[in-house]
Symmetry: C2
Subunit: 144 residues, 2 copies
DNA sequence: CCATTTTCTTGACTCGTTCCAGAAAGCGCG
DNA sequence: CGCGCTTTCTGGAACGAGTCAAGAAAATGG
């Protein structure tokens, strides 16, 4: 669907050097949405067994700064990454098992971006996290 | 304004034992909105110089679980606590200096609570974080 | 193919938070 | 008012995600 699976091209387009670790990280984030850093390290090492964790951390930072990847971190979770960027979507997080799913906000455009009183802040983004229970955990008797 | 500054009463009402550390922590959170754990430890030790950090961590967890205090943790920040609970307000966070301010959502009631497609999740809360720059940082030339 | 600049490897280290065992304090009851 | 049970607190070790730093390796432009 996206012509964007040409990762080297994506990197170049963002003005970044094309390195094997970066390509692999970009690929891992694309194929494992909402994965944490450790999972990404694992996925990357399937291709490049010798990458250091530092290379992955660096790549994730660089990619995030370049806007090729988005970092999310719900309260109580470690950092997670996803490849859907610039499309103003949000997340539902399961309180019980931590599962994360994408949600397109009911309001088609930027949701709630107009705070009633912004205290003088210049707001450029509204991040919404819905908390609840995923289908499986909703069925299972609450154990917490 | 709130008859709720009787902290021991608040604790008892929540079915919790009244201990000096808990009362002090509750007081610290009330007087230092959005403070992180370290600041709270400092504030608590102004009254009780000998409290262990663990007592503060335990109290914060207990108070959070009891709903007397709310924990927030914007991406990239450590845990912070506030005493406004159950009133459905949100936060603006400064990307530059990390300052946090309260915001009442434009929609008077639960904002965006109806996700367009909730993937089968049972949603009970929508948490909104607005990102931008606080008044001071908006004036200062962007240095990041 | 070379030089320059950026990125990666390795390994130590920081910092917020949690775990643990024993001592202390709160609460219900007589 | 004091006893005993249970919860909480103290002190200190431990943990884990993430960062820092120095030198080796690889990308890009010529």
């Amino acid at each position: 669907m996206t012509p964007a699976d040409d990762f080297p091209q994506l990197l170049r387009g963002a003005g970044l050097r094309v390195t094997r670790p970066r390509v692999a990280v970009l690929g891992a984030v694309h194929s494992h949405p909402h994965a944490d850093t450790e999972s990404i390290i694992g996925a990357v090492r399937a291709d490049l067994p010798e990458v250091s964790h530092q290379a992955v951390y660096d790549s994730l930072h660089t990619l995030t700064a370049a806007g090729l990847v988005r970092r999310i971190q719900p309260t109580g979770s470690v950092a997670r990454y996803e490849s859907r960027v610039e499309d103003n979507h949000h997340h539902v997080v399961c309180r019980s098992c931590g599962a994360i799913a994408d949600v397109d906000c009911a309001v088609g455009h930027a949701p709630c971006l107009t705070a009633s009183d912004d205290s003088g802040f210049v707001v450029d983004e509204a991040e919404v996290i819905y908390w609840g229970r995923c289908p499986s955990c909703a069925i299972a008797p609450a154990r917490q």
